[in-house]
């Protein structure tokens, strides 16, 4: 059903029809798959990169100017590319790795290349929020740098890391939708193929609901967990 020949109300009603939602089950699965896999990759590498930046910064536990500046520069370059450009850019890269330039896995690379640098910066700023005094105390106790990172900095900044990860996952979700345009399947694919190319606006609306719900759920879970932790620690 299209807005070109039907009223908005009719399209809204049609967007809830069981037929449309039955067809959406597979795309939802693809979107969730891309989101979960990409988010895990972003989590692992974002945290590692964020720790690297914090530790090697001039005020860090182990200042290393050249690696710090280099990593910062690469991150800034990657972050300055719009998500769509990143996907286009990663198509040949995906061909090198997977032997084909489209498909879900190919887009995961683009999502990782785009969202890891973003989350790394969020991690960096979360980690820097820890009071200098706590690190000083940990040092005075005779902790090694690895112990300070694992036992002090990460646990102390956990609520901030979780909030930041929420932002990263939401950005991953929006990018999976975009990736649909480039053969990655999922909700974005439906939105473009039916909603844009064939003016089937009821399907487009259904895609919108799903994206909104996914983002709301993600934000809700993130807030819930980080608030729980803060409340348990008597910091809220």
């Amino acid at each position: 059903m299209s807005l070109l020949d039907s009223s908005l109300w009719e399209v809204i009603v049609a967007s809830f029809s069981p037929d449309i939602w039955k067809e959406l089950i597979t795309p939802i699965g693809e979107t969730l798959y891309m989101t979960v896999i990409s988010s895990l990759i972003v989590l692992v590498f974002g945290v590692l990169l964020g720790i690297f930046l914090t530790v090697t910064s001039p005020d860090g536990l182990l200042p290393l100017t050249v690696p710090y500046v280099t990593a910062g520069w690469i991150i800034n370059v990657l972050r300055s590319l719009p998500q769509m450009v990143m996907i286009i850019l990663m198509i040949p890269v995906a061909r090198l790795i997977f032997g084909k330039s489209y498909g879900t896995n190919a887009c995961i690379i683009a999502i990782a290349a785009s969202c890891i640098p973003m989350y790394a910066r969020i991690v960096e700023s979360s980690l820097l929020e820890i009071g200098k005094g706590k690190i000083e105390a940990a040092k005075s106790i005779g902790s090694t740098n690895a112990q300070i990172i694992a036992k002090v900095i990460l646990p102390e900044t956990l609520p901030g890391l979780i909030r930041g990860f929420t932002v990263a996952v939401i950005s991953v979700i929006s990018m999976t939708a975009l990736a649909g345009m480039f053969g990655a399947g999922g909700i974005g694919d439906i939105a473009v193929r039916f909603g844009y190319q064939r003016f089937q606006h009821d399907r487009l609306f259904a895609c919108v609901y799903i994206l909104v719900i996914l983002v709301q759920i993600t934000q809700g879970i993130g807030n819930l967990i980080s608030n729980r932790i803060l409340r348990k620690r008597n910091l809220l």
Binding site: G131, G133, K134, E136, A137, A138, K139, S140, I141, G142, S143, T144, Q147, K151, V152, P155, E156, L158, K232, R233, N234, L235
Partner: protein, 260 residues
Amino acid sequence: MSYVEIRDLHKTYDTRGEALEVLKGIDLSVERGEIYGIIGFSGAGKSTLARCINRLETPDGGSVKVGGVDILALSKSELLQERRKIGMVFQNFNLFDSRTVYRNIAYPLEVSGFPKDKIRERVLETAELVGLSDKLGAYPGGLSGGQKQRVGIARALVNKPELLLSDEATSALDPQTTIQILDLLKEINKKAGITILMITHELDAIRYSCNRMAVLEEGKIIEEGTVAGIFNNPQSRTGDLFAKVFAEFQNISLTEGAGI
């Protein structure tokens, strides 16, 4: 030889090309088992001095010896070992908010590879010493300032150090709590024979706890001796000034009945 021996200690901070000489040749001797006070105005270099003793800050020149160990000559791993023998207490407590009281106190043991099956016993024993046995499951966020500092002290003591660096341990506390914490430090000093270097800008804290003290002003020790000697017989500008401030403070305290 004294337990803590500091000779001709120099430290200059370099902030954006501007050199700030914070310690200008400090000489200090602290005997084993005493509570030694260091007093000085804000910015005098007290914290810097304390931080040079466990090498949180690397001095530019001079020597620091604790129990005969040349702190500045230690390798990185030796330094970690040595720091575990020097406890430090802070004005802002610097507790780990992610850990319960129990796990805050256990932290130094975890870090130093203390036998796992003996951690519990040692933590309970230390918590008892500082009077926190009923708060072990609480998080620092839910404690009062005095309780927080007790955790800080327990954490500093749990590895059974021989030296305790107390950097303004009571400066964030109200007078009543200050007395309790000072009493605790005195008790620890007596019971365990721990040498305490008590850094403060509060005269009453030093008068209450220390036998000997030094006055630090702009990176130099301008006076050193027994507490009574310095306050009754001031020979320096700062000593004189402090004595006056102290006398005034005493009067206020007596009339209000809130002082030490």
